[in-house]
């Protein structure tokens, strides 16, 4: 039992590290994790595009993809090794994950060869950015309950409706969308899937202001938006099947979250005086600190078990599914507890006065969303209990009924 690379892995790691050293600056460890960037989105996007192009040129942008699309034709463990090395460098991110993690893999599975030739490489090189248009105001966890409709008109489809929680729609060039083509059949059977140009007339993008004050997401309105039939992915009525390709990739694309963890809590506890002495000597603080340390280590070594399987060329076990169930509530509770340690001063969310420039306060606000994005805590528990433990699905009242006869979701209330 050890954490060592195989000789091949060590060679790949050394190459990746050498390339990163030549092309990027190492992270400055003294920088605080405040979770809020000082730069504007436009500045960050320009910097990210530049870095993405450089990385794609070297083949590191999509290590597991086939070489014909600009990948390295490498293994999942090589992809992990590159990410581990890249995380030590100060490089921009946050713009291409959804496109390259979810949208383009869906294209590669369902689009024509010509379409892949046209769209995959520009996405990989950061020239075109993609978004995913699935969730709707009335269809979140139950995404198959979506209502945005598409109607055939000659060689085109006309789309009307509204999508929501679309990350980055305002700077994206293309999107993948699932719509309802037939409301008279059961919900999963009446869906049809497309990709489209986000500049198509009739698309109206409006930012959603989150409780954090930021606007990473959008509402996207479709008003007689015309899409050629050639941009349909999968057969008419087979949209759910196509969606599953995207959703399977979603859990891989959404990470385990970063931000303040037990190290920062330890630092805070050492620096903060409570009424009866230093926080680090308080037994309640010590118990909580130990609990979160153990959870963090548990997640870290669970990942190592997954990596071991990848390193041996095996399919990882289901243990990797626990990550977000643990890390979401942990981020929220840890940050909230750190604020408790700050007592009355904990209410301040202030870059000057708050410890670590307000990192705990920022995380406390943000974590409420992290527990919902990419699968709520509850949906993830359903997935574990059904797909890992083999428990039955809940009794479904919506599976065999025509969509437009469902209470709430269809046209009938």
């Amino acid at each position: 039992m050890d954490f060592n690379d195989t000789p091949e892995e060590a060679k790949f790691r050394a190459e990746a590290r050498a390339w990163l050293s030549a092309n990027a600056k190492p992270k400055d460890p003294s920088k605080v994790k405040a979770g809020v960037s000082q730069k504007s989105e436009a500045e960050r996007l320009a910097r990210a595009k530049e870095w993405q192009a450089k990385k794609a040129e070297a083949g590191y942008a999509a290590i597991t993809w086939p070489t014909e699309y600009g990948g390295l034709g490498g293994t999942p463990i090589q992809s992990v090794i590159y990410s581990q090395e890249e995380s030590k460098f100060d490089v921009p991110g946050g713009f291409f994950e959804i496109g390259l993690g979810m949208c383009i893999p869906t294209m590669m599975k369902w689009a024509t060869k010509e379409q892949c030739d046209r769209y995959v490489k520009p996405a990989l090189f950061g020239e075109e950015i993609w978004c995913q248009l699935f969730s709707e105001p009335a269809a979140g966890s139950d995404v198959a309950g979506l209502r945005t409709k598409c109607e055939k008109d000659g060689d085109e489809w006309v789309i009307n409706g509204q999508k929501v929680w679309t990350s980055g729609a305002h700077f994206c060039d293309y999107g993948i969308i699932v719509t309802r083509s037939d409301p008279t059949v059961p919900k999963h059977k009446g869906l049809t899937f497309f990709f489209l140009d986000m500049k198509t007339p009739g698309i109206d993008i409006r930012p959603i202001k989150q409780i954090s004050g930021g606007s990473g997401f959008n509402e996207v309105f479709f008003n007689d938006v015309r899409v050629p039939d050639s941009q349909r992915l999968g057969d008419v009525g087979e949209g759910w099947k196509v969606s599953l390709t995207t959703l399977m990739n979603e859990r891989l694309a959404i990470g385990q979250g970063s931000g303040v963890d037990y190290e920062e809590l330890l630092k805070l506890a050492r620096e903060t005086e409570l009424e009866n002495g230093p926080a680090i000597k308080d037994s309640n603080v010590r118990e909580k600190l130990a609990d979160w340390y153990v959870q963090s280590q548990g997640l870290k070594y669970t990942k190592f078990r997954t990596l071991t399987a990848l390193s041996k060329g095996q399919v990882p076990g289901p243990e990797s599914s626990i990550g977000k169930i643990v890390s979401g509530p942990k981020m929220q509770d840890l940050a909230g507890f750190a604020m408790d340690i700050q007592g009355q001063g904990g209410v301040m969310q202030d870059t000057e006065e708050s410890p670590m420039a307000g990192a705990f306060q920022n995380q406390w606000i943000g974590a409420a969303g992290y527990r919902i994005a990419g699968g709520t805590d509850e949906i993830l528990r359903n997935i574990v209990s059904e797909q890992v433990l083999g428990l039955p699905q809940d009794i479904r009242v919506d599976k065999k009924v025509p969509f437009n006869e469902l209470p709430g979701a269809g046209s009938k209330k």
Partner: protein, 374 residues
Amino acid sequence: MNFDFSDDQKMLKDQARKFLEDKCSYDDVRTILESDDSHHDGVWNGLCELGFAGAAIPEEFGGLGLGALELAVIAEELGRAAAPVPFSSSIYMFAEALKLGASDAQKSAWLPQIASGEIIGTLAGAEGTQAPSPRTVKASFAGGKLSGRKLPVPDGETASVAVVLVNTGGAGEQALSLVLVDLNQECVTRSAVDTIDPTRGHAEINFDNADATLIGDEGDGWAMLKRVEAGAAVLMAFEQVGGAEAALEMAKEYALDRYAFGRQIGSYQAIKHRLADMYVKLELAKSNAYYGAMILSEDGAELELAAASARISATEAYRFAAQECIQVHGGIGFTWEANPQFHYRRSKLLALALGSASRWKDRLVAELEKSNVA
């Protein structure tokens, strides 16, 4: 990255599982629950015949000379079966204490018989419900004679020999020492004590000027004990992981078999989410236990931290799985005839065996405090 057990270790695990499935069913565990026996002789002898007791004892002292990773896979299976055997007392506590601090003469005198399973050893630390520490231990040792009262001592009724934590009068942490004592002396009297888990015997032992010899140096007892506890914490974490997995499987089977309000109870989210939570805690515990085993096997500097993590995580996983296993079973789970009780009892026994989770959380944070400021 090779963070997994080897094929040989997995084969050993399979061998242990097959033996226990065959010889140590819940019915076998029940015979000990309902008898006055301290442990199950048949199961224990069978394990010893397979060489498990001597697995990590050096060959020169009659063992197989394997290591912590081999003990870990055996421990996981013992935990899964809730095996009523003195393995932890004799191996993780007694044999490991001797390996750590005893002279060659002491090792030669006892380890071969421990390795063969001919005799059982144990470690006696607690003196009732006060936490044993340099401030509280009263058992005394002077002039080669041991006096005092120890309880509860795991497997204290059947053990032939014990390592005993005694007060030798030094200052602060140097107050304590470990001594080796043959329990088959006239001046050693013992009687069984009732516990929450009668499948694992415990006793009160009184020493009245019993002959004993120091293990290691006088005043080193507390430090040595903590090192032994750290190793035992890792191995017991594997027992806890095995037990938690068994409790989860038992609860899952019942949730699939039992119908209420016209459907399987396993189709209700109230049940599904509980079982998912059991799974999550179990996987975290397994990962922490793996790391503990890796560090223990290399005697790494981070042992205290890794052991505390393994123990805290596994204690929580087993606590939750065992108690919620009864809850999922409903009324039948509270009956004497049903099997969830074995894990409910064992989970609490193991949770307390080396001191509570709070004690280990404090030990963990003490280690973090020693590390560099984050």
